[in-house]
């Protein structure tokens, strides 16, 4: 963990894993506010981002988190680092009520309002994460590694609720591995959590696999950038 500036909030994690999955752009648009446009990786193909975190240090203790989001265009702000990517998280699930309440209050993130369970299984070159609720599977993701190296990556996340549209900027410091070897997988199970993506033609093989370990995520204070959802 690093020394924080006023207003910064930091989360420490053992593992943060992500998969980028192609799915039809019209489904990506449905999951976004009308003011945002999805990144189109090929003509007609949007991206579903599935991220799963194993947090081991935060203001609300240890917890797991599942984030479904759509990559969108980064917002350029003079004098600040160009973000590596930007996301609109459209559904977040956490393993504890405290972490959920914290994220809703601080970051205005849309949450699944029940606790979920996330189990990580780590091998030398791959990691599996299974999300469930009360024994009912939500989704399973498998990610593989490539070459590891230390990074500091900057990201943006946009949120919108009745009170406003917000932008969170964050830095991810960790050992990082990324590949497009198409060795990972995603299995989406029937569950209320997956209702928005289950029949949306999501490719079950990630075109990009990301894995960060033994790192921390540092958020700048949330910025209000627009009005709330009608």
């Amino acid at each position: 963990m690093s020394r924080l500036k006023p207003g910064e909030v930091q989360y420490q994690y053992r593992h943060a894993i992500g998969g980028f999955f192609e799915f039809p752009i019209e489904h990506a648009r449905k999951l976004l506010p009308s003011s945002m446009a999805p990144i189109e990786m090929h003509h007609g193909q949007g991206i579903l981002s599935v991220m799963m975190f194993d947090f081991n240090g935060s203001l609300v203790g240890e917890y797991g988190e599942l984030v479904l989001s759509i990559p969108v265009a980064p917002r350029i702000i003079p004098g600040r680092p160009m973000p590596r990517a930007s996301f609109f998280p459209f559904l977040v699930g956490t393993t504890t009520k405290a972490s959920r309440d914290h994220a809703i209050e601080l970051w205005h993130l849309p949450h699944f309002m029940e606790n979920i369970e996330i189990a990580f299984t780590v091998d030398e070159h791959d990691i599996r994460a299974a999300a469930a609720q009360g024994g009912q599977s939500i989704l399973d993701m498998h990610i593989t590694d490539y070459e590891w190296g230390p990074v500091e990556h900057h990201y943006q996340a946009f949120e919108q609720d009745a009170t406003g549209t917000y932008m969170a900027t964050m830095a991810m410091n960790a050992q990082f591995s990324e590949n497009e070897e198409e060795r990972g997988s995603l299995e989406i199970h029937p569950h209320a959590f997956t209702a928005g993506i289950r029949n949306a033609g999501v490719n079950t093989t990630p075109f990009r696999e990301l894995w960060m370990r033994d790192g921390f995520q540092t958020f700048q204070p949330l910025e209000k950038i627009g009005a709330g959802a009608a």
């Binding site: 090929h42 980064p74 917002r75 160009m82 070459e147 900057h154 070897e181």
Partner: protein
């Protein structure tokens, strides 16, 4: 106005200072700067320049677009762009597969045409830009391809863009191999057709993507894929396309004039020329010129004449280039030994690489990828290769998937065996020094 280099203007120093302010983008690439949102159209320029001058250029992006001062032959001169030093290099990077770009007869034909017609065509091919040399080239191309007609376009890019946007409309389906050239994808987008990509060279996935489609459908494949150098499994692709009533088009930019007993391409190689509905090729690869063509029925030609907007609204191919290409076409038919030399060179170089254990992916053609599979290291290796006297272009993300970075070797009939031996020695030694082998 003369172009000023960054070192001339001092801009590079300014960017260095800006970079020192803490912008962290050392592992960024072009894809990080494609999308952005702002109230200022030019807001992306600042972060892009910070990346370009701060890290990208000096880390190896300067290796792209280095100006050459010789023909793209086996040995070239170019000006290295980091320190602006002149270099003499052994060239394995150019498309000049049959060595025709600098063939004396080709140059003579182009010079004659320059004297006769002047510099440019001075008009669209549908208005005043068509000259007799254009029609002669089209006629001889059609005869060569054994098709009713062939149409010449100003560039290979405009060929695919014009063809696809002429034939497809919103609601039509175009099913593309995921590795097809950008010009094919752009043509489909311009047509506003519904696009589906199938997994590279996998007929089963093509069938999956065709299933459920109705109406007008076009399947597009390439003869030889430009990044991997592998060949389309055309019999299976044709079978699946016919099963679903789809038309099939083959882009033979990297295979026409080289594959097949008479050089007509991969479709000839497989004996499927009449089963493929639309044949595309270029003049910029094996013929060493510029431009592209579509070969097919007279009806296709007639329709494209009216609706291929990239051709209708462009100036016709320069007559000197047209005449040079025409002569190159005649040479390929007169001298089949050029193809034999090319394939002999390919086999020789491939043998040298194989003996050294170099990973060349799935290539079986004159395009041989040297797989490095490490995005962080390939640009450094490229610099060492250039310092050792070898001109090779690194191919990196987003042109290929992350960590599928490679050098793309283009073998030519104009290479001598000694030059290929020298190139392989430089390549293998450098890869060994770098721990790749």
């Amino acid at each position: 106005m003369a172009h000023q280099s960054d070192s001339d203007t001092g801009l590079e120093d300014q960017r260095d200072a800006g970079q020192a302010s803490g912008v962290s983008n050392s592992d960024y690439d072009y894809s990080n700067f494609y999308y952005s949102s702002s109230d200022d159209l030019f807001a992306i320029f600042g972060p892009y320049d910070d990346w370009w001058y701060g890290t990208a250029r000096r880390n190896g992006y300067y290796l792209f677009s280095q100006p050459m001062s010789t023909p793209p032959g086996a040995r070239i001169n170019l000006e290295e762009q980091l320190n602006h030093e002149p270099l003499e290099l052994l060239n394995l990077a150019s498309y000049n597969y049959l060595g025709l770009s600098h063939h004396p007869e080709v140059i003579a034909a182009a010079k004659d045409a320059l004297d006769r017609y002047g510099l440019g065509a001075a008009g669209s091919p549908i208005l005043s830009g068509t000259m007799d040399v254009h029609l002669t080239l089209e006629k001889e191309l059609a005869t060569f391809k054994k098709k009713e007609a062939a149409m010449v376009f100003p560039t290979g890019y405009s060929t695919n863009v014009g063809l696809l946007s002429a034939l497809l409309r919103p609601g039509d389906w175009v099913i593309l191999d995921q590795n097809v050239h950008a010009s094919i994808v752009d043509g489909a987008i311009l047509a506003k057709a519904q696009v589906r990509f199938f997994r590279h060279n996998q007929p089963a996935d093509l069938e999956k993507k065709l299933r459920g489609t109705t109406g007008k459908r076009l399947v597009v494949v390439e003869g030889v894929y430009s990044m991997d150098g592998d060949i389309v499994c055309l019999p299976e692709m044709v079978e699946v396309s016919k099963k679903y009533g789809a038309k099939i088009m083959i882009d033979e930019a990297h295979s026409t004039f080289m594959y097949g007993a008479e050089g007509r391409g991969v479709a000839e190689h497989f004996g499927l020329e009449d089963q493929v509905d639309i044949h595309v090729g270029t003049f910029s690869k094996a013929l060493g010129g510029q431009g592209g063509f579509v070969a097919g029925s007279q009806s296709l030609y007639n329709y494209l004449m009216g609706f291929a907007r990239s051709r209708v609204f462009s100036c016709a191919l320069a007559p000197a280039v047209t005449a040079g290409v025409l002569q190159a076409l005649r040479i390929t038919q007169r001298e089949p030994q050029l193809r034999a030399t090319l394939w002999s060179n390919v086999a020789h170089f491939r043998g040298l690489l194989s003996a050294a254990g170099v990973d060349v992916g799935d290539s079986t053609s004159q395009i041989i990828p040297i797989m490095i599979r490490n995005d962080r290291r390939i640009l450094g290796i490229a610099q060492k290769l250039q310092q050792a006297g070898l001109y090779l272009q690194p191919i990196i993300f987003p042109a290929v998937a992350k960590h599928r970075s490679r050098f793309r070797v283009s073998i030519s009939a104009s290479h001598t065996t000694a030059q290929l031996d020298e190139a392989a020695a430089i390549l293998v030694n450098t890869l060994r020094e770098e721990g790749i082998l």
